[in-house]
């Protein structure tokens, strides 16, 4: 006879000293856990509810400017810093942690229209409607930490006066060129008072410019003539252009997929394009109810943030048709500029009410140090929620957002209008000869033509 029975000695299964950690034994056998699917579902549901409870995205407002904020720039070298320029010619450097002005850059006579920082984080370039481009030395990071706030005003390193007012500026990602947009697109060097190159295609004002993060010589601009133009600095003439039905206010390149960019359009939508294939948008991001004013990609390239004339900030997935998040407060007016912070965890918006606002990128994320066990738990709940997100109960909770009344009503109205248009189109199609009317997908519909 051979016999063995289970026999556990207490020493093997408990800790030796009270300072030790409790011992944990795992057995993943499904039969030990009954109804695991139901338990998982309940956990997903509870996680969705808890997310709603803990959703406090607004961290604080940064007050100081005397006029509406027109542009912002993040310092690629220093996480806590953000520059902002306002309509009265004031440029400020903010410390995001303490939410205070660190330094001011006086000099512009009219509105500051564009701000950008060189990739090494040492030079700030600003341009404005007073036809000047100003270069500033960015103060040391240590200064930002020090408490001396009195009389921290910097003097410009260089002031270049030019023929026309400027609308935007952007610095090359790798190199020391920067481009300004105005009556034409000018390419500047740090050391020269005149542009090294000038591009012009079409008669109207260029309103935004962005350099490609991957290919330093390529830039995209949008103009008042509703066009989005791609330039290559190595060529003497612009490369390609696409004309849409409405104006594009701002452009952002995806930093992780540098051939793709997203355009914030006047018609309330954002359009993601592949720069190599401009005849059709890759994705249309709908949800805003008024013109989208500014757009900025997260450094992860998975999300982008938009600010709109409808006084809301929204966060979209790079490939999602609808926004995953909407931020608004009663006091926030029209949003003119938004930035995603360099660590992808905060969003900064600048609006008409002269305030910068700091938001969390994930509304219910916990700030501060998260212990490993806690983080694991968050990750688990996130995965479970993701698994059951299609079920009606979970979906309803995850999707629900409180909207300001005007936005809610405008969204309803917009929906009705779009639906009516679609129905009309359908009827027209039904009553016409077959094949005579072709419905174009929304990705194509708003594009008039592509010019090489």
């Amino acid at each position: 006879m051979k016999v063995k029975v289970i026999s556990r000695s207490t020493d093997e299964f408990t800790r030796e000293r009270s300072q030790d950690l409790q011992r944990v034994f795992r057995n993943f056998d499904p039969s030990l856990r009954s109804q695991e699917k139901a338990v998982e579902y309940v956990r997903a549901l509870n996680a969705a509810k808890l997310d709603k409870i803990f959703a406090r995205p607004f961290i604080g407002a940064m007050d100081g400017h005397r006029d509406s904020i027109k542009c912002m720039a993040k310092n690629p070298n220093y996480l806590k810093a953000i520059f902002s320029g306002s309509d009265d010619g004031d440029i400020r450097l903010w410390d995001l942690a303490s939410r205070r002005t660190v330094c001011q850059f006086p000099g512009h006579q009219g509105a500051v229209q564009g701000l950008t920082v060189s990739t090494d984080g040492s030079i700030l370039v600003s341009c404005g409607s007073d036809c000047t481009v100003r270069l500033w030395n960015v103060p040391d990071a240590n200064l930002a930490d020090s408490d001396i706030l009195s009389d921290n005003s910097a003097k410009p390193v260089a002031v270049y006066v030019w023929k026309n007012a400027f609308r935007a500026v952007d610095h090359q990602w790798d190199g020391d060129l920067f481009a300004t947009a105005g009556a034409q697109v000018d390419i500047w060097n740090h050391n020269r008072s005149q542009p090294v190159n000038t591009f012009d295609w079409g008669a109207d004002t260029t309103i935004s410019v962005r350099f490609n993060p991957g290919e330093p010589n390529i830039l995209a601009t949008s103009a008042n003539d509703r066009s989005i133009t791609l330039y290559d600095l190595r060529m003497s003439s612009p490369a390609r252009k696409v004309i849409m039905r409405t104006k594009t206010n701002s452009i952002a390149w995806n930093p992780m997929e540098p051939m793709n960019f997203t355009a914030a359009n006047e018609d309330c939508n954002c359009y993601s394009y592949d720069a190599r294939k401009l005849e059709e948008a890759k994705c249309v991001h709908k949800d805003h109810v008024s013109a989208v004013m500014d757009i900025d990609f997260s450094p992860t390239g998975r999300e982008f943030v938009t600010g709109s004339y409808d006084r809301t900030v929204r966060i979209f997935q790079y490939n999602g048709g609808h926004s995953r998040e909407i931020y608004h407060t009663k006091r926030m007016q029209r949003v003119f500029c938004v930035k995603y912070s360099c660590d992808a965890s905060y969003v900064i918006s600048g609006s008409d009410d002269t305030n910068l606002r700091l938001w969390k990128a994930k509304a219910s994320e916990q700030l501060g140090v998260v212990l490993p066990r806690e983080r694991k738990k968050h990750e688990y709940l996130e995965a479970v929620k993701n698994r059951y997100k299609h079920l009606p109960e979970v979906k309803r909770i995850v999707r629900h957002r409180h909207l300001p009344r005007p936005v809610y009503k405008a969204a309803n109205l917009r929906r009705t209008m779009i639906e009516a248009e679609r129905r009309k189109e359908q009827r027209r199609k039904a009553h016409s000869a077959p094949g005579s009317i072709v419905t174009e997908p929304v990705r194509k519909r708003r594009i008039i033509k592509e010019v090489e």
Binding site: M1, V3, V5, Q22, F28, S34, A433
Partner: protein, 522 residues
């Protein structure tokens, strides 16, 4: 060498299959390429995690299960407890004992889900709580009333007792916390620990479900099948099964007033029933000297064995214990072919009447409640050797217990999640398309209806009304009657198709010219 490796692979495959929890989704017919890609990645992940879990099971688990193997002409069912005691270590042999308490009469038992504590209740009002690790008596109280059943709630701190008029809830110190008057005179109690529901069946055959967290009465159903004290929860899905004196077994959930399943299991009264922990097997015993094992997926009997059983219980590893009189038989199915054979037997002292057998979780121990106290014997291979600290921990500290209580309350399932197939939770019902019967099927149906009408036998009627002509006429009428609904259906379909044709003018004509087509006279 090669054969060994193959054998190893087979063993691994078997284990992986357990962790995969069903078949992978079929992605063949999916048209959406993006979704297909995402799901393929998901399935791949599931496969990997199942493989990892299987490897963990093979290499990392700390303990191995017990066993009892016969050598030579020995038979396992002839091996006595005394001879087992000679072979094993002292700490295990502590689990063989008889507690003789002749006055306070037949005892019933319950273990906590981690197997650490036991509550014993004597018919005459004696309640005892024992720590099974140290064999210390924690608390002993005398309620001075008939006690019919005892059950632990979610941890060892609380237990419910079915007393003479009402069930009561006590804590570990013996303090009465609640008197559940709504339940009435309860015969059996069961606790659903995922749902925090206390289920009871009372003298009048009423089934009650009470949520022990909020005290809300979730369900109150009249079974309508009379008094019974045979009640068991299926741990796999939370369905409560009742065995009735008519030989039926009914299965209930708290959200419906009619049973989910009503199955006739025995020609006589059902004396006990038990569920396999995987939820696919049920064992029932009837007073007509039969023990049956049922497949709950098909509701078919798999095996019928002769024998009485006052009480039945499945162990974690699937051994089945049956107790009757002073004799206990343990059946096992080691081949996996669902063919239960005798594994071990045990006879108590003459005159002891076994009232309850219950395997202790995570141990190779069978607890026996009988008329003269309670006993404990060793059944090697019955318990799960490896516990999971987050599911049930026999070495739980009070801090861990508190934490676990909070977590299990957060994960408390709503009563709606009790259903026969719990894997259906969180799935979407496929759209049910009603298939139109084909012409052939309709014809076949008609044919069959006519055939049955033709073959019906008539009663013998009085003289004059039983003439052949009358009978033929009647038969003809019946055939017509059988045909009628089907013919009507055909006509209706015909009409609708004609209407459709009317709205769809000539198909060949170009669209612009279709309006000039001459309308047919109505």
């Amino acid at each position: 060498m090669g054969a060994k490796k193959e054998n190893n692979d087979d063993e691994m495959d078997e284990k992986v299959k357990k962790y995969l929890r069903g078949e992978a989704a079929n992605l063949e017919g999916l048209k959406d390429k993006k979704l297909k890609g995402q799901l393929a990645v998901r399935e791949d992940l599931y496969g990997k995690s199942a493989k990892t879990a299987a490897k963990i099971e093979k290499w990392l688990l700390p303990s191995e299960g017990g066993y009892l193997e016969a050598e030579g002409i020995e038979k396992t069912w002839r091996i006595k407890q005394e001879s087992i005691a000679r072979e094993i270590d002292i700490s295990s042999s502590k689990n063989q004992y008889d507690i003789v308490l002749p006055e306070l009469g037949p005892y019933t038992l319950d273990f906590t889900s981690n197997g650490r504590y036991m509550a014993a209740a004597g018919r005459k009002g004696h309640l005892a709580i024992v720590d099974m690790k140290t064999l210390n008596l924690i608390k002993e109280i005398q309620v001075k009333e008939t006690v019919r059943d005892v059950v632990y709630l979610h941890n060892e701190l609380f237990f419910a007792v079915a007393q003479k008029k009402y069930p009561y809830i006590y804590n570990r110190d013996g303090t009465e916390l609640h008197c559940l008057k709504e339940h009435g005179a309860v015969l059996r109690l069961q606790f659903l620990k995922n749902h925090f529901l206390l289920a009871s069946i009372n003298k009048f055959g009423q089934l009650h479900y009470q949520d022990v967290t909020m005290g809300e009465m979730v369900g109150n159903f009249r079974t309508g099948l009379g008094r019974t004290d045979v009640m068991q929860v299926n741990p796999f899905n939370g369905v409560v099964a009742l065995g009735h004196s008519s030989g039926t077994v009914t299965m209930w959930k708290p959200t419906s007033s009619v049973p989910l399943v009503k199955m006739l299991c025995h020609p006589g009264p059902v004396s006990s029933l038990a569920f396999h922990p995987n939820g696919h097997l049920m064992a029932t015993s009837g007073k007509e000297n039969k023990i049956k094992i049922w497949d709950l997926r098909k509701f078919e009997v798999i095996q019928t064995m002769p024998g009485h059983a006052k009480t039945l219980n499945f162990s974690q590893k699937g051994l089945l214990a049956a107790g009757t009189g002073s004799f206990i038989k343990v059946l096992a199915d080691f081949s996996g072919s669902q063919n239960y054979n005798s594994y071990m037997t045990h006879s108590m002292a003459k005159g002891y009447q076994v009232g309850k057998v219950l395997f202790r979780p995570y141990e190779d121990v069978l607890g026996i409640g009988h008329s003269m106290g309670w006993s404990s014997i060793l059944i090697p291979g019955s318990g799960e050797p490896n516990f999971d600290s987050w599911v049930a921990n026999p070495f739980e500290t009070s801090k861990q217990r508190r934490e676990k209580e909070v977590h299990s309350l957060l994960d408390k399932l709503p009563p709606e999640t009790i259903m026969l197939d719990p894997t259906k939770v969180g799935t979407v019902r496929a759209p049910q398309k009603k298939e139109k019967p084909t012409k052939k099927e309709i014809e076949a149906e008609m044919e069959a209806a006519i055939e049955t009408a033709k073959n019906t036998d008539f009663k013998k009627k009085t003289k004059g009304r039983n003439k052949p002509s009358k009978r033929a006429k009647k038969r003809q009428e019946m055939i017509e009657r059988a045909k009628k609904p089907l013919l009507e259906q055909q006509i209706q379909e015909h009409e609708t198709s004609r209407k459709k044709q009317k709205t769809n003018p000539e198909i060949e004509m170009p669209k612009s010219l279709q309006r000039f087509v001459r309308q047919k006279a109505p």
